[in-house]
Amino acid sequence: MDELIKATYNNGNPLPEFNNAAQVWNHNFFWESMEPRGGDMPKLGLLDQIEKDFGSFTNFKEKFVDAALTLFGSGWVWLVLKRQERRLEVVKTSNAINPLVWNDIPIINLDVWEHAYYLDYKNDRAAYVKNFLDHLVSWDVATARMIRAEAFVNLGEPKIPVA
């Protein structure tokens, strides 16, 4: 699926299949990014990395909310591990685009197409984003994805406790 998305993205000139392929991928990723009693905070390594790259967990949340509220039109907000820069960043994409096309590794995403929240929140996107962060986001899944990502991106020396 990843390959199909990169291929149909066609370096910025997407082929007709791209929208559907990418949206399948984005929504699958989204369902798995949430859990019924989610929210709270990430722990251990992921929290350390977030604090390193954003200053604090609070600052990350602010950036995430800001990205969601300043995204014009339809799209997605991502916490992504950038391969080149070797750091976590918040990224917003339009319509069906996802960070795979830039070869980066998504950790969590949030759908901010209006269909994702309109029936429950009407136009109040801010309430939807805050509820996602406070009650839905699955930091367990994010941690698992992060562990896998670290197999591909060298984030520095592992913290091996001295005997």
Binding site: N19, F72, G73, S74, G75, S94, N95, A96, W113, E114, H115, Y118, L119, K122, N123
Partner: protein
């Protein structure tokens, strides 16, 4: 600031300075307000629900107006300070919110309750032009519906007139881009809002049903008036 002082110095007339107008021109900023709907929120039912009309007008359009005014004030400030970086940075907010205000102002006039002519086919020169350029009104509707259904993400489908080429066109724009972004000589006649907020509460994900139905409340009289004015 300097520009208006220069105007002051170069005045040729001996008439007294209109101080009120002078203050306005040094500030130079006109802001905008939400236009009233020409009908009640529920007047377009059952085609478009009163709930949608209310949210669409009072929340979405109002937000575009508010944020457009905010961007204009920031632009005015940046221009006065000679801050090109901020001026350029504001362009996307101006286009998005200004476009949202422009497009929705047209949209409210594009709609009319059935008992005020909503849905009545165009007569006169616009009716002729549609038959000439598209074959028939049905054919035009099908084309616009197809474009609307195929539009990815958020945007608008337009029936416009190219005032240079004297021809009707069907175009789509993304997000809140006004029709003029597709061609400087294009004038919008009818715009169909295909953002999900325009139909989701009522039609859910079935965008084609919304598009098929909206023609029942399209105000062709307004479109004809604009067309005749541009063709004169």
């Amino acid at each position: 600031m300097a520009l208006s002082l220069r105007n002051l110095v170069s005045r040729n007339s001996l008439a007294p300075l209109p101080i009120g107008r002078l203050l306005l021109s040094t500030r130079g900023l006109q802001t905008f307000s939400l236009p009233d709907l020409p009908y009640d929120y529920g007047a377009l039912e059952p085609t478009i629900s009163g709930e949608i009309m209310m949210l669409h007008h009072q929340k979405h359009h109002q937000t575009y107006v508010t944020n457009y005014n905010k961007a204009l004030e920031q632009l005015d400030d940046a221009m006065n300070r000679g801050d090109p970086s901020t001026v350029v940075k504001l362009q996307s907010a101006l286009k998005f919110n200004g476009g949202g205000h422009i497009n929705h102002s047209i949209f409210w006039k594009n709609l009319a309750p059935v008992n005020e002519g909503g849905g009545e086919p165009p007569r006169g020169s616009l009716g002729w032009a549609i038959d000439t350029d598209f074959g028939s009104l049905e054919s035009l509707k099908q084309k616009m519906n197809a474009e609307g259904a195929a539009l990815q993400g958020s945007g608008w489908v337009w029936l416009g007139v190219d005032k240079e080429l004297k021809r009707l066109v069907v175009e789509t724009t993304a997000n809140q881009d006004p029709l003029v972004t597709k061609g400087p000589s294009l004038v919008p006649l009818i715009g169909l809002d295909v953002w999900e907020h325009a139909y989701y509460l009522q039609y859910k994900n079935v965008k084609p049903d919304y598009l098929n139905n909206i023609w029942k409340v399209i105000n062709w009289k307004y479109a004809s008036n604009v067309y005749e004015k541009e063709s004169a």
